[in-house]
């Protein structure tokens, strides 16, 4: 099939879905709307698969399907087309997006069944997928930026989907504005790169990237990538711009699954991977990325341990996992980042959908303190959630194990890595195991704290099927990236398929071309993280299932520290107190004091001067015409004297 046609269908199918649902938002019922939306995404998924197949059939070096539909902006040197590229990196992404997207759409049909704005919901969702595809497929930073902002917009719409609740609407706004901060930096980053390299085409940028690593902070590559990375921190919820993501849980749960776990938030990682050559050329940036990634991973995990809202816990977990991806990217392990991105998409989507299922069953209750022992009411949800739990805490052979392990290994071993980064990763993994187990325990296990009037029940099949599929993927998803050491003992299974698939696209850190840890170290590292995670999980199980009173004691013992963490380190308050409120105060002062009391005052003063002069001169205007005539005569005298004296 013609590639450009395929690409067009891939892109436009969700858009058409959006248009149909958007224009008939009052008329389409839940089944029709959901059906249209799901089919639209599914068509895209099929196209993605077809493209992927085509890509696979191509020779390794030529795996690139580029289509330019029309020239978008052409001014002077700037030539940006509506160009889209499928290459190994984007192929993976579109598969994940459309695949997971289809499942989540399916889930939504049932989940949103009773909502009045269901058609609108699906329209937004389709629009989101459309934008996400643009982001992923765009062949230049600008096209990518189109999707980048577009997904932000959809995210805004979907977070604020239940806009009658001011909190939720505010959460949407917060997301958008926080993202905008990143976007502004992204724009600047683009400018830096464009001014230096004269192009914004991703492919060309990677080609033109300096081959020698830049040492300076102000080099074009460093500055540009740093600014782009700030953009990424916004989109991918890294320190310091992560604050919007937990609030974004105000949206419907499938949205959280699709946008705030599987796809959109990973855009930052994806962007870095796309521009890997440029990033590689900027080791300072890489260092920043790695540190921020690691810090976020730990930081978010600590908050996750203290949250009581099921979705908030997952949200902080997402932030933390994204931190892992950035850590990977930062140490030059782009493949690992992509790998974790994919596996995370599976298990986190699964867990969000699972939590959606739980919330659905609990009649919109999200506080895990009011749950417990749901295992018996909703076995399928519990089981799939359990698989996801295993994946996220990195238990072999589940998906998360392989990807996280790869990241940790690279963090330790890459020339850009550092043992401290590794240690932070491990610490994160330990905490992840703790809070995830805590979540499992409080929700599904232990004693039931469900209020009497609530009668939990298993979700309908439309919701469970996506759970099951994702559960399956969470188990096997990691098997495409099995490390060499393991594949060595697993006959018949090729090692690191994903890595090889991506390899032509990725630039490896300098002097790392054939760098491998020896097997023993690798086993040791793997062992340490797995064992620590397991211990941590066990401790959590002990705390929350066996002796539920222990956590409170510990919390009390920790006192203010616990308070601080459970209040999310007061970061939101800090932002409000240090930035937003002063800004609003400043604005009000500017308005009242500069505009009204200064500039206008000046004009008034000028006016008063004129008026004063007028009233001074007015005394001459007595109304006595003869006096006026005299003034005229005097004027004549003056003129004549002047003429004569000259």
């Amino acid at each position: 099939m013609n590639h450009s046609l395929l690409m067009a269908i891939l892109l436009l199918s969700p858009f058409v879905g959006f248009l149909i649902n958007g224009l008939r938002w009052r008329k389409n019922g839940p089944n029709l709307a959901g059906g249209i939306a799901t089919v639209a995404i599914f068509i895209s998924f099929i196209c993605s698969v077809l493209l992927f197949v085509d890509l696979v059939s191509m020779p390794q070096e030529a795996r690139r399907i580029a289509v330019t539909f029309f020239e978008w902006i052409a001014v002077d040197r700037l030539k940006i087309g509506a160009g889209f590229v499928v290459d190994p990196i984007s192929a993976i992404m579109i598969l994940v997006i459309t695949g997971v997207g289809t499942l989540i759409h399916l889930f939504s049909v049932s989940y949103m069944h009773h909502d009045k704005g269901v058609a609108k919901y699906f329209a937004y969702l389709n629009l989101f997928v459309f934008n996400m595809l643009i982001l992923v497929l765009g062949d230049s930073l600008v096209t990518m930026f189109v999707g980048w902002e577009g997904v932000g917009l959809c995210s805004y719409l979907l977070i604020g989907f239940w806009f009658t609740d001011r909190e939720k609407a505010a959460a949407g706004m917060k997301a958008f504005i926080t993202n905008r901060i990143g976007d502004a930096a992204f724009l600047l980053g683009m400018f830096v790169l464009f001014m230096t390299f004269g192009t914004l085409n991703l492919h060309e940028l990677n080609e033109l990237a300096p081959t020698v690593a830049e040492g300076s902070w102000l080099g074009a590559a460093t500055l540009g990538t740093l600014l782009l990375f700030i953009g990424a921190t916004g989109k991918s919820a890294q320190i310091p711009l992560y604050v919007w993501l937990p609030d974004a849980m105000a949206g419907p749960t499938p949205v959280s699954a699709l946008i705030h776990a599987a796809t959109m938030v990973t855009a930052g990682v994806y962007m870095i991977v796309r521009l890997n050559a440029m990033f590689i050329a900027a080791p300072n940036t890489m260092m920043v990325i790695a540190v921020i990634g690691a810090a976020t991973a730990v930081f978010a995990a600590t908050i996750g341990m203290t949250q009581w809202d099921i979705k908030k816990v997952l949200a902080y977990s997402t932030v933390s996992q994204l931190g892992y991806m950035f850590l990977a990217a930062g140490v030059g392990a782009f493949g690992a980042a992509m790998f974790h991105l994919m596996t995370h998409a599976f298990f986190k989507a699964l867990m969000f959908l699972g939590s959606g299922s739980v919330i659905h069953a609990m009649h919109e209750e999200q506080d895990i303190r009011k749950m417990g022992a749901l295992k018996k009411y909703m076995p399928i949800t519990h089981f799939t959630f359990f698989l996801g739990w295993l994946a996220i805490i990195g238990m072999p052979p589940f998906a998360g194990f392989f990807s996280k392990d790869l990241i940790l290994e690279k963090a330790f071993a890459s020339p850009l890595g550092h043992p401290l980064l590794w240690a932070a990763g491990v610490l994160g993994a330990v905490m992840t195991a703790f809070y995830m187990t805590r979540l499992m325990a409080l929700t599904f296990w232990g004693k039931s704290r469900v209020p009497k009037e609530v009668h939990p029940h298993e979700s309908p099949w439309l919701m469970t099927i996506p759970l099951i599929v994702l559960g399956f993927l969470s188990v096997v998803g990691g098997w495409i990236g099995i490390p060499h050491v393991i594949s060595a003992i697993l006959p018949g299974h090729p090692a690191n398929i994903l890595g090889d698939w991506l390899a032509p696209m990725l630039k490896v850190p300098l002097s790392d071309a054939h760098h491998h840890l020896d097997a023993a170290t690798e086993w040791t590292l793997m062992g340490i993280s797995v064992v620590l995670a397991a211990i941590s999980a066990a401790v959590a199980y002990q705390f929350y299932v066996r002796s539920p009173e222990t956590p409170d004691k510990i919390a009390k013992a920790l006192g203010p520290v616990y308070q601080l963490v459970s209040k999310k380190y007061l970061i939101d308050e800090l932002y409000f107190g240090a930035v937003i409120n002063p800004l609003i105060r400043l604005s009000k002062n500017l308005w009242h004091h500069v505009d009204v009391n200064f500039i206008d005052k000046i004009t008034y003063v000028l006016g008063d001067l004129v008026r004063g002069g007028g009233s001074l001169v007015r005394t001459l205007q007595t109304g006595n015409m003869q006096l006026y005539a005299m003034y005229v005569g005097l004027g004549l005298v003056a003129i004549l004297s002047f003429v004569l004296m000259r």
């Binding site: 007595t622 109304g623 006595n624 015409m625 003869q626 005539a629 005299m630 005569g633």
Partner: protein, 108 residues
Amino acid sequence: MPSTDVFTTITLQHYLVLSAALFMIGLTGVLLRRNVIVIMMCIELMLNAVNLSFIAFSKFSGRIDGQIMVFFVLTIAAAEAAVGLALIVCIFKRFREVNIRFFEHLKG
């Protein structure tokens, strides 16, 4: 210039001095008289004085444009008199007053 010449030879200067004198008389009247109608008459006088100098210049420079100017001035003077008198009549009909000082306060 011998003194007899001043009397026997009439030059442009003579006309101009005459014109200036008429103008000054008119101006004095405008400045000092109280009756609006008289003031208007004095204005006419001033206009006439100017006319005279125009004609004199026209004559002594051999150009006819001066006469054209007078023609225009005449027209405008007539127009001015018509409107001015109409206004004065209107005000007089209402207030029986032609004193210029009364016109300082045009509020009815």
